[in-house]
């Protein structure tokens, strides 16, 4: 869990490591020589740990692949909310509930349109399809059951974006319709919108807006993974034992877990969302 110490250890054997870690691709380019020197100092376990934590799940560093990954999730979400609005349970809901779902659908549709433009703008071909499974959706027998899935989709989306941020470091701006977009900043700005959606749906469901570990869905695999949402150690710093930092202060595991959201790797996300696809 110790991001900083790992980087520091790498820096000890390779003083240029900071500059060469700008992109995941450059890490692999430098791995051969770096690996030889690092192996003497720390062994393969350190490298494995490094890639698991700092570049988790990055099976490909191509920004086109990263944005198509994001687009595929947004297509799934947009279609899910479209099905919610069209379902037999929607008209009976309060104006507040209908307004919230319509607001989220509007944002997801905007994300789809923007991500399609970004993928095209960087020379890729936007993925298509990725509809939400009609079979799965029709199996959701109430508005409440639909909201449960919405919560899982949003919280998973937040974790998925977070897992790819490192892939977009240092990627040049993309110009779309005369406006320059920084790929990383664009992804971060979508990511925090997903978190707003997650917070609102969790509130609609009577859950805390943040993930404390005591929610009714917190045992679902969407909150597990190599680094589960229950994690209370960040970068080697125990958030519970923070009394070492602020004297006479301790924090609960629930507060520590809730104060940091966690990443999911593409492999983990794939296992979670593939059964939901048409």
């Amino acid at each position: 869990m110790n991001f900083f110490n790992i980087i520091n250890q790498l820096a000890e054997v390779d003083p240029d490591v900071m500059g060469r870690l700008d992109t995941r691709r450059s890490v692999f380019n430098s791995l051969t020589t770096l690996g030889k020197r690092t192996a003497l100092a720390a062994g393969p376990a350190l490298l494995a740990s490094f890639f698991t934590k700092a570049y988790a799940g990055t099976t490909a560093g191509d920004p086109k692949e990263v944005f198509n990954y994001a687009l595929s999730l947004e297509l799934l979400e947009a279609d899910f909310y479209k099905k919610m609005v069209a379902s037999q349970y929607f008209s009976g809901q309060s104006a507040a509930y209908q307004g919230a779902i319509n607001q989220i659908l509007k944002n997801e549709n905007a994300h789809v349109a923007l991500l399609q433009a970004v993928v095209s703008g960087i020379g890729g071909t936007p993925v298509t399809g990725n509809a939400f499974s009609t079979t799965v959706f029709n199996g959701l027998g109430s508005f409440a059951a639909q909201l449960e899935v919405a919560q899982l989709l949003e919280d998973t989306g937040v974790r998925a974006y977070k897992g790819r941020a490192g892939d977009l470091l240092g990627i040049a701006d993309v110009t779309i319709g005369g406006t320059a977009y920084n790929p990383l900043e664009t992804a971060l700005r979508i990511h925090s919108v997903e978190a707003r959606h997650a917070a609102h749906i969790r509130t609609m469901r009577g859950q805390t807006p943040w993930i404390t570990g005591s929610g009714d869905k917190d045992s679902q695999p969407n909150y597990a993974g190599a680094i589960p949402e229950s994690n209370t150690t960040q970068s080697g710093v125990s958030l519970i034992a923070a009394n070492a930092i602020t004297p006479n202060t301790t924090y609960s595991a629930a507060d520590a877990a809730a104060s940091f959201d966690e990443i999911l790797t593409p492999t983990e996300v794939g296992a979670l969302v593939t059964p939901l696809k048409q």
């Binding site: 507040a96 971060l188 990511h191 710093v237 923070a242 809730a258």
Partner: protein, 255 residues
């Protein structure tokens, strides 16, 4: 030039000539010039006062600038201290709200949780910066608030909304300034929690405004993108709540 230094032939016809031909006058000055130039380079290398345009002197975190401001530092340290400054402010604000008696019931309980989250963020940054950049950890700041900030629920919620949206804007804008991917992941792990706070508080103020509130300048825009601000803009806003004068002009700047 080398010809000038070559020994002449050793046969009898040339024996009477000097062993070495004197260096031509022009060649002598070429040598002299090169020597002078080399000496100048050596002297420049020795001088501690010589300006170095390639690597400007960037401020350390927590150093004092010429105008008496506290520098947040440069490069990634600057970004971390920037986050630490904002988390100090948020943690102090929520601690006061959590200890007060204006809010009650479930609302107070949630604000007490938010207070813990922000305190944990603050303590985390202090620990991480102290470990990774010893001696550059931003000092403890002295927050200040407009009169009446903690007197009414309306004022508390408005201030909380401003701080949370500012935090989301700040982290979203700082991501591309970070060089170390591990720090970027940490920033991403925190910003989504700040966004959850922001959504909750906005819904308390006006139900359904978790993402948009009818003002494109203060909420998610038509492209579905959240707020974003540069460190300069964020600090201009945050400065009104911080007694010490902060200088974030080198945040993310690397030598």
């Amino acid at each position: 030039m080398s010809d000038n230094l070559q020994p002449r032939g050793s046969d009898d016809a040339t024996f009477a000539q000097p062993l070495y031909t004197p260096i031509k006058r022009r060649s002598f000055f070429m040598y002299a010039g090169a020597t002078a130039g080399a000496s100048a380079l050596v002297l420049a290398g020795c001088s501690k006062d010589s300006p170095d345009p390639v690597k400007p002197n960037l401020p350390n975190g927590n150093s004092t600038t010429a105008d008496g401001s506290i520098s947040l530092g440069s490069g990634d340290v600057g970004v971390l201290n920037y986050a630490y400054a904002l988390e100090q402010l948020e943690a102090d604000f929520y601690a006061k709200v959590a200890a007060g008696s204006v809010l009650s019931g479930a609302e107070l309980a949630y604000f007490q949780q938010v207070a813990k989250h922000e305190a944990i963020h603050r303590d985390f940054f202090k620990a991480a910066i102290t470990r990774d950049a010893p001696g550059q950890t931003l000092r403890g700041l002295t927050p200040k608030y407009p009169t009446g900030t903690f007197d009414t629920r309306t004022s508390i919620l408005a201030t909380a909304k401003a701080f949370e949206d500012l935090g989301v804007s700040a982290y979203n804008g700082a991501g591309k300034l970070i060089k170390n991917a591990a720090y970027l992941v940490i920033a991403g792990q925190i910003v989504s929690v700040e966004a959850r706070h922001a959504a909750y508080i906005r819904d308390l103020i006006a139900p359904g405004t978790f993402a948009e509130d009818g003002n494109a300048a203060t909420s998610v825009n038509a492209q579905g993108l959240d707020l974003v601000m540069t460190p300069t803009a964020v600090l201009a806003t945050a400065q009104a709540f911080i007694t010490e004068k902060l200088d974030g002009s080198s945040i993310g700047v690397n030598a």
